[in-house]
Amino acid sequence: MSEYLFNRFGEGCWHQTQKPCPDLVDCLREGPKCQQNEAKKAEYAKLMAVYRRDTITKPVIYLGTGTCGLGAGAGKTLAAIKAYLNDKAIDADVVEVGCIGMCSAEPLMDVQLPGRTRVGFTHVTEDKVAALLDGALKGEFDREALLGQIKPQHDGIKAWDDLPFIEDHDFFKPQTRWVLVNCGLIDPGSIEEYISRGGYTALAKVLKSMTQQEVCAEVETSGLRGRGGAGFPAGTKWKFALRESSNQKYFICNADEGDPGAFMDRAVIEGDPHRMLEGMIIGAYAIGADKAYVYIRAEYPLAIKRLVAAIEQAKAYGLLGENILDSGFNLKVIIKQGAGAFVCGEETALIHSVEGKRGMPRPRPPFPAVSGAFEKPTIINNVETLANIASIINNGASWFNAIGTEKSKGTKVFALSGKVNRTGLVEVAMGTTVRQIIEEIGGGIGNGKAFKAVQMGGPSGGCIPQQHMDIEIDYDSLKKVGAIMGSGGMVVMDEDNCMVDVAKFFMDFIQRESCGKCIPCREGTKRMLEILKAITRARRTEGGFQALERFKGIMYLQKLAEVIQDCSLCALGQTAPNPVLSTLRWFHDEYEAHIFDRKCPAGVCTELLIYDIDAEKCTGCTACATQCPAEAIMGKPKTPHYIIQDKCIGCGSCLTTCRFDAITAK
């Protein structure tokens, strides 16, 4: 939308981008305050209803085009929708929205007819568009692709009689959506839609009626803890920075979501960028910073694009820049693209990266709140933390801390992935059990397999086994079982996953990402990986001395892990052995099977398997023999083949090549 809404206020309004009015947000929502003009008020009430899409005059088609949607083919679906509307000469709006969170059902399309509720469909690939829209635009819905309708928010909208509500869907019912409330519903490219749903009212309230101390105190009382992993109370941290007197302070939003397996920050920025931006402006005001950075991963091009657009719009409305809402408070937001280093999630490393140096941590104190970026007081908050701020200010601290456990308040977003039926973004109240998330929201494990463990907290976290599935999620209870909240990655594993292999995977990641500053982490993680590799190496490929070393390694694995934990400088090193320690603790038998029986019970560690060809099933197609890198498969064409075990290196390529199930691995 090229026209800014404040241009329509008419006579009496003096608001300009350069000279903002403190009442702007209220005026936008309720009509200009400086005029006693009922017609204008009605006009704005109507406008807001249009932006909320409560009143629409023509059908609206919403399509989820977040990165996950696009991955599932939403780009082609979008083209198909546009072509369909063009062909049939139908006048309808097509809105690209963020992700509602149900990644496994992407691409997701909603259709809303005038005066009726929005109806959602799943798995809308390009070939299904025409058939779905044929019916939907007439009010006939294909039950198979149906997700449900969104509950009507006011009287003007009539619900369809016999359609289920999305809010009652198994995936959404146990959730408490505060951070994700707008994700997938609003157009992330439109600041007006965000304002129409109550956006920027918190900022207006803060700038108009709250002191910096009051803002910090409100956030502190709410009990909001940093959602990036460590869980430090956000308000307390702000107070530290506020207390410092300095001519320059910085506010940094950490959107460097390095944890492989977490994507909530991406989804929030892609689906509702203004929510995070509003939280950041409030935070910067609270500590007295006039420069803010968003440190975001370069791997998220779409999120960066949406964020750039959001910042431009906020500037145009006078919600960013000089003299925000005539309060005398200035804020400049700069986007810094992370260059791909996991360690940059650590505050001091992130600061170094912002300064243009290698992202290496430094000892604390001094804490960044005292001396951070460019040696000035700096506050770093995670995207999700900031996305919570606006609702805390609007609804009060007591509203926020009414939900949650004793020491962890509010909600937490988890990125549910791996071997569950329904993957996606899940926001639950603190205190929800792991079992609820996996079995109710995630719909359990697919293909009739048995649940084995859920990995939480990424490379710094640990696994939660079957027997602890009823644990209530909060920062402290998770620590007790050796996992951490982390940024909220939740990777579910079933019986086909080998825990030694998972530990090896994380160790491989950590040793690559170790910045190299301190020896325990740099060298220790490498040695741990070597030990794990030795455990999963076949006897046929190791000599006597290597076998001896393997045994020595196993004896020292636990001790080495403790040394790394104790002697590393930053959180990356201190938590680096967690994946190994937690799998050792809960899945000792699997390690023993690898070490003593030299077998991988899950059949993942290919080197430990012994391959054989079932002569009954083999057709002699020679496919495996051509694929075998070791030339270990012999046999004439059209006669059963056989494997020479001495030559076999256990790569498993024959197993994946064979189309006749003739190859067995034990």
Binding site: T67, C68, L70, G71, A72, G73, C103, S104, E106, E257, G258, D259, P260, G261, A262, F263, R266, R297, A298, E299, Y300, P301, K336, Q337, A339, G340, A341, F342, S353, V354, E355, G356, K357, R358, G359, F374, A415, L416, S417, G418, K419, T423, G424, L425, Q455, G458, P459, G489, V491, V492, M493, N497, V502, F505, F506, F509, E513, C515, S653, T656
Partner: protein
């Protein structure tokens, strides 16, 4: 790919300090595809930094490449969710199909291969990205089809 003159990029950073180094490197890589030695020297002159320092920073981060990438840059996600769903097999299949290792470019300059930590599409694992296009739920046998579709596209263009 070198459509923009490096001096044009450098001109934008006329009075920039050290903190502009990473954005500058990113912008140069964006338009050239990689950081050539000459580019690094020019950047050093611009920011008044020794070349060694710039390499020190550039080699620290995973994003920077020092060899020309292929026409289509293939990124294989090796995040946790992708690993659990079998991305190792996908990577293996791509390696076998393209006959290159991660970090290398095929002889014909068509494809280059890179391992990335996480693309953030964990719900649809395993994923790969070719150029700007993201492919979800990739299996080893889909790899050939995906990569060949680019070969065909390229052949049709010529």
């Amino acid at each position: 790919m070198a459509s923009v003159d490096i001096n044009q990029i450098l001109a934008k950073y006329a009075n920039a300090g050290r903190d502009a180094l990473i954005p500058l490197l990113q912008e140069v890589q964006e338009s050239y595809g990689y950081l050539s030695r000459d580019a690094v020297i020019l950047i050093g002159r611009q920011l008044n930094l020794p070349v060694s320092k710039i390499y020190g920073v550039a080699t620290f981060y995973n994003q920077f490449r020092f060899h020309a990438p292929g026409k289509f840059h293939v990124q294989v996600c090796r995040g946790t969710a992708c690993h659990v769903k079998g991305s190792a097999g996908v990577l293996e299949a791509i390696k076998r199909h393209l006959k290159i290792e991660p970090g290398q470019t095929t002889r014909d300059g068509m494809f280059s291969l890179e391992i990335v930590a996480c693309i953030g599409v964990c719900g649809l694992a395993p994923v790969i990205r070719v150029g700007e296009e993201v492919y979800a739920e990739v299996t080893p046998d889909k790899v050939k089809r995906i990569l060949n579709s680019y070969r065909r596209k390229e052949a049709a263009n010529e």
